[in-house]
Symmetry: C2
């Protein structure tokens, strides 16, 4: 995939010194010299990190020029000093590119409860500002700079024709653990050269989130730092999008966010399968999403997929405790195209064939059907592997 970076932004990712390995980027800087409209969606955790409170107070905005991100330290549960450090990080980044500190946003991700190493933050800001670019290499360096336990960088790009102009959209995100809606534990930045008002930017971002980043989990633990930003430079030209033009942009943004969001459980810590859960026949979308999320967060379902075990009773019983009323005699289940359960009763199937179908594919598709209505839901999660446990039993020690 080649990425065309939206006009109006320059960026870079560098090693400032927070991560131990000198080849790993840990500081990302994005600069929008003419100012961008900015919107944000944040964790709903009561215990939120300093940069979440900081950005929340500054978005939506009509004039954001700098986004500074560090990985390797979440600046969460760090009290008053954490908030001062966050403010100083915004000042350092803005100063490095000659902007007013009031126009900067900050994101942090990594270990909780450790104070930010401000000398390394300062170093990162200085180094990153030295060679900002609008090319694909700069974009990918920026995407690597926000990674923590990720095995691969996560990016997406789209072009969409709106109101006679080509609008570019490019996004990056990180996240592999502590992932549970709303929001998943992750940082994500969507850049576009579309012209958007702050209100429209906030509205389209929220709608896209509900279909994407709020439909994924790894282990369902909601993070302290989740942040999704949309920056719109307006460099594609024209008046701020409205009506059907805004709707066309909304569709492209949602589509891009879904592609980006799925990369997170696909890279779930230790994961060997990306599990997609499709729910049909519910009374409301909320009901369908609630069932999808409950199935996704069942450790028994996730371990069964890891073991390629067609233990469908775990899937059906998880639906049963989702808190959504339904007729058990109307339930059906199809896994990777194999029907295992129909009208509330088992369908005879060859366990070896279904097990092989799970084992041989990176994606496992679970389709649960109900007879309550016509609403549907979707959710994505990772399987639960011994590698997840090994990894998480020994994170800080």
């Amino acid at each position: 995939m080649s990425i065309e970076v939206p006009a109006g932004f320059v960026m870079n990712g560098v090693h400032g010194g927070i991560k131990k390995v000198a080849t790993k980027e840990d500081f990302t800087l994005i600069h929008c010299p003419k100012g961008a409209t900015a919107a944000g969606v944040y964790t709903q955790n009561l215990v939120f990190a300093a940069p979440v409170g900081f950005d929340r107070s500054r978005t939506p905005s009509a004039n954001i020029r700098v986004v500074a991100v560090n990985s390797g330290n979440a600046n969460a549960c760090t009290g008053e000093r954490g908030m001062n450090d966050c403010r100083e990080m915004a000042r350092l980044a803005a100063t490095a590119v000659g902007e007013n500190e009031q126009t900067a946003l900050v994101m942090s991700t990594g270990v909780i409860g450790v104070f930010l190493p401000m000398d390394k933050i300062a170093n990162g800001a200085k180094l990153a500002a030295e060679k900002l670019g609008n090319d694909e290499a700069s974009f990918l360096a920026a995407a690597r700079g926000i990674m923590t336990t990720d095995q691969f960088h996560k990016v997406v790009a789209r072009q969409v024709n709106v109101a006679g102009r080509t609008i570019r959209l490019a996004g990056m995100c990180k996240g592999a653990g502590m992932i549970g809606p709303h929001m998943a534990t992750m940082l994500a930045i969507m850049l576009t050269d579309a012209p958007l008002t702050p209100a429209a930017a906030q509205q389209v971002l929220k709608a896209a989130t509900d279909e994407s980043f709020n439909c994924i989990s790894v282990e369902g633990h909601m993070s302290t730092n989740d942040t999704l930003l949309l920056l719109a430079s307006g460099a594609a030209g024209g008046e701020p999008l409205t009506g059907s033009d805004l709707a066309a942009f909304q569709a492209a943004l949602t589509d891009a966010c879904i592609e980006l969001a799925q990369q997170i459980p696909d890279d779930g810590e230790g994961a060997s399968h990306l599990i997609g859960i499709e729910i049909t026949g519910c009374q409301t979308r909320d009901a369908a999403q609630q069932i999808a999320k409950t199935v996704a967060n069942s450790a028994l379902v996730k371990t069964a997929v890891a073991g390629a075990d067609p233990n469908w009773g775990r899937i059906v019983s998880a639906a049963g405790y989702a808190g959504v009323p339904f007729n058990p005699d109307g339930v059906g289940l199809i896994v990777n195209g194999h029907e295992l359960y129909r009208a509330g009763a088992p369908v005879p199937f060859d366990a070896k064939t279904v097990s092989a179908a799970i084992k041989s594919e990176r994606k496992t598709h679970i389709k649960l059907t109900f007879t309550e209505g016509s609403a549907v839901g979707r959710f994505w999660t990772s399987d639960l592997n011994v590698n997840y446990v090994r990894f998480n039993a020994d994170y800080t020690t």
Copy 2:
């Protein structure tokens, strides 16, 4: 511990042939020749097993004489045929001890979605009825007959003086996986020779459950088969308990249920730690329980304890997404007596010392303190180990 079995009951556990290993009991029969008052508490899963529906329709009752339990097959998600099999199992067990089939209750536990092997059920009922006893050995055989993936049998006994008489209480339960309130995935039977009306039996059982079996989890997956029965033979003599006598019995029953319930996460599949979570300073008990349960069900908290990793950010952040409002600046955390977090900020501590304190004890005590009120909550869970994943990735295949 020596167990004095309440008067009025005889029992046994035998190998009927459902389990592959001939030395493992898989059928338990309890007989109360003069009839017992019976109460039940059941899974809230919409997808419930045949015996759950069967028992639910027969309790509370003033005249239950037979309880038949099989392990190795849950008779869940088995449709119409499953309900017929359940009825037939009740008939076989009642006939084996010369009772009317209307006085029998049934419990099943094991794999979901496989029809009951009725020849083996018939064999179990016949063999068990041949030598029923009121002694400790018979009670322990009965307790083994309900086990599935349990590493050890789970029993409890109490004596309490009420209204000038000694009342005996003895209980057994099983459960090690698919454990999430309400109820935990488990079967439990409490026997007593106290005289109780059906209404009083149901009331004390419900109250005891809320303090015990509804306060435990292994992985939070609510089962299709959870059943807790209380049988009261009245053999201790006297009128049905009321007022302060009933309250004294209630206290003993709750205490016994808590001791029994804790044995389940202590035997959680692959578990190396029993985690006890204590919450103080909330506005209501419901709020405290909601926070306790959310912390208990965090895979990140459970893996941290498995790895003896004092990663307190995971505990505090789990509380933050419990859905209960609180002031983050008032939160404190103590793990195994070591203060790690106070008034919303980290307390310096020696990571090696705290890690050693977790590693060296089977029990990990997590105490989270809030400043909202005076309500408290308690919850027990197991840690999350690679052995849990290994075990559950390969259960049916």
